[in-house]
């Protein structure tokens, strides 16, 4: 005695194969197309895996270190030397109470041969007295040791 379910199954299979699916097979041409389409994906997957496994951690660590380094570098104040074009300032102490001269030895000693030489050397320079900025107005030579410097605001 046959099972009606199996009868239906076998009959339906046969009818599908003979009518709807007749000559409908996955041809070698289709297989080759799939293989060709897989090739570039294969490369992508390989590169992805390669980077993921071998380079991801070192690259991340490197990037973090470089970021930290540059952020420290940028946040530091620039202490570059003033350019030669900048005006040279002369610092004069207010008296014995200040440490300015000790700290910043701006005043140096020169042997000047004539008052003109001094004038030339001073030119029109800015004098920084503590707090106030003064401009050199004139220089008077009282004697060999005494020089009067007139400053204006």
């Amino acid at each position: 005695m046959t099972n009606p379910n199996n009868d239906i199954k076998n009959l339906l299979k046969r009818e599908l194969d003979d009518t709807l699916f007749e000559s409908l097979d996955f041809q070698p041409m289709l297989k080759n197309e799939v293989k060709n389409k897989i090739k570039p994906i294969k490369k992508q997957i390989w590169i992805y895996k390669f980077w993921n496994t071998r380079f991801a951690i070192p690259i991340t660590v490197g990037a973090v270190i470089s970021l930290m380094f540059f952020s420290i570098l940028i946040s530091q104040p620039s202490d570059s030397k003033p350019s030669e074009n900048k005006k040279i300032n002369t610092y004069v102490s207010e008296g014995k109470n200040t440490n300015l001269i000790k700290e910043q030895r701006a005043i140096k000693s020169w042997n000047l041969d004539s008052p003109n030489e001094l004038k030339q050397w001073l030119g029109r320079k800015y004098f920084f007295l503590p707090i106030h900025q003064k401009v050199l107005d004139s220089i008077e030579f009282k004697s060999q040791e005494q020089v009067r410097i007139v400053l204006t605001k």
Binding site: P4, N5, I8, K9, L11, L12, K13, E15, L16, D17, D18, T19, L20, F21, E22, S23, L24, D25, F26, L30, K31, E33, V34, K35, K37, I38, I41, K42, I45
Partner: protein, 182 residues
């Protein structure tokens, strides 16, 4: 001629994806192509879908958990691709509902084939059933899936599949009785 000759019972496939895909194409190529054709009714689209199925299988082969057979997995990919295709813009012939189609499948068939289908004893009635019944009958009878495998493939609960299969077989049986075939 026309008979499927795929190896059954989950053959061992290579772990290397490209080799595995070659083996899968040898085993299930025609089955996948026919499944796509059954749902889409267009040979060229079916070829595209079957190729895409194997490309997807290649991409995800490493993640395949073997909680189902390779055959079930491939058919599931195929059906999902068919659904996507039917949902995509430009596909106006058929629309999708919860599972596959809500209109009868429109085949681009030659008159000769249509004539032969009309001469069949069962197929013409199967193709006349609502699409969700066609689908379950195809999976059950042609692909030899059990209800659990059909549920995995369609994403429906197994109870729903069982009920749907029962109704489909009853409807088919009624038709066959009317015609005096059963």
């Amino acid at each position: 001629m026309g008979r499927l000759s795929h190896r059954e019972n989950n053959p061992n496939f290579s772990k290397e994806p490209s080799k595995a895909v070659e083996e899968m194409m040898d085993c299930y190529g025609s089955l996948i192509l026919r499944t796509a054709y059954f749902f889409l009714g267009d040979r060229f689209l079916a070829e595209d879908i079957s190729q895409e199925t194997f490309i997807r299988a290649y991409r995800h082969w490493a993640k395949f958990r073997e909680d189902s057979s390779v055959k079930t997995w491939l058919v599931k990919i195929t059906m999902n691709l068919c659904r996507d295709k039917m949902r995509s813009k430009g596909w106006t012939e058929q629309t999708t509902e919860s599972i596959l189609l809500n209109k009868p499948i429109t085949y681009n068939l030659e008159e000769e084939v249509i004539k032969r289908i009309n001469e069949t004893q069962i197929l013409k009635y199967v193709l006349g059933l609502p699409p969700h019944y066609q689908e379950v009958l195809y999976l059950f009878y042609y692909l030899d899936f059990n209800t659990a495998e059909i549920a995995k493939t369609t994403g429906d609960p197994e109870g729903t599949v069982r009920g749907r299969l029962h109704r489909a077989r009853r409807l088919l049986g009624e038709q066959l009785k009317k015609e005096g075939i059963m």
